[in-house]
């Protein structure tokens, strides 16, 4: 069996890329919807966006999108370590976005644990977790914007 089938895998655009875009879109929207802003600023009045004002709906959507993002991150990371690392390596922009996603996942998972019955984190830890999650999200959005504007890729071929 060929141990290095990475040439046919790569980190190119494909259906997974669009799944990633979709997940990020829903996770960002449902994440911001945890704050009482969409109803206040009439965004939830736009046809098709009424769900943004329903806290329990956005809570569940955020969880589903988070589970999909975690699965995708583990898929891509496994793919990279299994084979792609022989052909490509992460760029600085890739490290930055990857690091921010890992930070978002860790702080998010801790918040999910906090939400379980019987889990009682100290109020100060909860405040820090909430702030860290929001700050990571904002930094991630800036990194996304920067990467889109300057056409920064996650990986580059090993020369």
């Amino acid at each position: 069996m060929n141990p290095n089938p990475s040439k046919s895998i790569g980190f190119r655009k494909g259906s997974l890329y669009w799944l990633y875009v979709l997940i990020i879109g829903f996770i960002v929207l449902s994440g911001f919807a945890q704050m009482p802003i969409f109803k206040r600023y009439y965004i939830a009045d736009i046809p098709g966006l009424g769900w943004l004002a329903q806290y329990y709906v956005t809570h569940v959507i955020h969880y589903i999108a988070a589970a999909l993002l975690i699965a995708l991150v583990f898929y891509r990371a496994s793919e990279y370590f299994l084979s792609a690392r022989f052909d490509v390596r992460l760029t600085l922009s890739g490290y930055l976005r990857g690091g921010l996603i890992v930070g978002l996942i860790i702080s998010g998972v801790l918040l999910v644990i906090r939400n379980l019955a019987g889990q009682n984190f100290s109020p100060l830890i909860i405040i820090y977790l909430d702030l860290i999650h929001i700050v990571f999200m904002l930094l991630f959005l800036f990194a996304l914007l920067f990467s889109a504007l300057f056409k920064k890729k996650w990986t580059k071929p090993i020369s």
Partner: protein, 326 residues
């Protein structure tokens, strides 16, 4: 902050309260012990005297808002000012200045007339959505099960009220942290609700409403013990329990001689007047999805290995074909 109840309230409460006050909270559920404390309300004992309401207002008066007027103009205009500061005496519903009120129900059940009164306030859910879903961490659950809203951190977005199955928290505009940020664009005051006298409980004292009641309607203790007592009381009086399973379980348990479905039709409900309907666990759906998050990394790794194996096999076949054709 007054930590003692005035002579007027105490006399209204009567000597019966004295013995209860002296007893304090069972040590098992004190501030040092993380066991969740629950209250049991035997509503067949409640005479609707309002001593609990008065004591609550008196003991919590220093926590009440003192809004600055005029209020900042709110944008967009759909954001309504909620001002209760000129209606502080309102005691027929929940407000930022009235965290407990008496609900009454006149019902006929199985041929018997009942005139029942219930003290209503925050249920202090075992897994409170107001606390868990607050985006700022302004709502807190103490290890003893008390959920409270931190008036120094709350921005008054009222999410806690929307996610509360009973819409308990009430907003006062013109006070709190939002005034120091972007008062016209973000926030709208501070949310207020019963904090079950967390400061008194931390000192081993009883919540004011429990202490002052002349009929000993309420008692407080570790949830397991209170649940046992609620079941024993319901069995003895052939009564019904509310709060054991509502919203996944609460730390306020009512025992009534009349089913709560019947009571719910008889009480006045609406803004600041909570219902007595059955309530499913609001956090359950989200928390069930937490399981998916445990499986997500496994699914991702398994898919990558599957894909790797499939492509490696395909490459192998390709190489074999190439060598055969050569």
């Amino acid at each position: 902050m007054p930590q003692s109840i005035s002579r007027r309230s105490f006399l209204k409460g009567g000597a019966a309260a004295c013995a209860l006050a002296a007893a304090g909270i069972p040590s098992e559920g004190s501030a040092e012990n993380p066991a969740q404390l629950a209250t049991l309300l035997d509503i067949s004992k409640c005479i609707g005297c309002g001593a609990c309401v008065e004591a609550c207002r008196e003991i919590n008066a220093p926590k009440f808002p003192e809004p600055k007027k005029p209020f900042p103009a709110m944008y967009p205009q759909r954001v309504k000012v909620e001002d209760w500061s000129d209606k502080r005496e309102e005691s027929e519903r929940l407000t930022p200045y009235n965290w407990l009120y008496i609900q009454s129900a006149l019902v006929n059940y199985e041929g018997k007339d009942y005139n029942l009164t219930l003290p209503r306030r925050c249920m202090h859910c075992v897994n409170p959505p107001c606390v868990k879903l607050c985006p700022w961490g302004a709502a807190k659950q103490l290890p003893n099960g008390i959920s409270r809203l931190d008036s120094d951190l709350c921005l008054g977005g009222a999410k806690c009220k929307e996610v509360c199955p009973w819409s308990i928290p009430q907003r006062q505009t013109g006070t709190g942290l939002y005034l120091d940020i972007l008062p016209s664009l973000v926030g709208n005051g501070v949310m207020y609700k019963c904090d079950r006298c967390y400061d008194r409980v931390a000192q081993g004292k009883l919540p004011a409403c429990v202490e002052v009641c002349p009929e000993k309607v309420q008692e407080i203790g570790p949830r397991e013990e209170i649940l046992r007592k609620a079941h024993a009381l319901a069995k003895e009086k052939k009564g019904y329990i509310y709060g054991e399973h509502e919203n996944g379980g609460t730390n306020t348990l009512y025992v009534s001689p009349v089913p709560f479905e019947v009571l719910n039709k008889a009480i006045e409900t609406g803004s600041g007047k909570p219902h007595l309907k059955k309530v499913a666990d609001s956090m359950k759906q989200g928390n069930n999805l937490a399981t998916a998050m445990i499986l997500a990394p496994l699914a991702g790794v398994a898919a990558a290995f599957g894909n790797f194996y499939r492509k490696a096999k395909k490459n192998d076949r390709g190489e074999k074909n190439e060598s055969q054709s050569v």
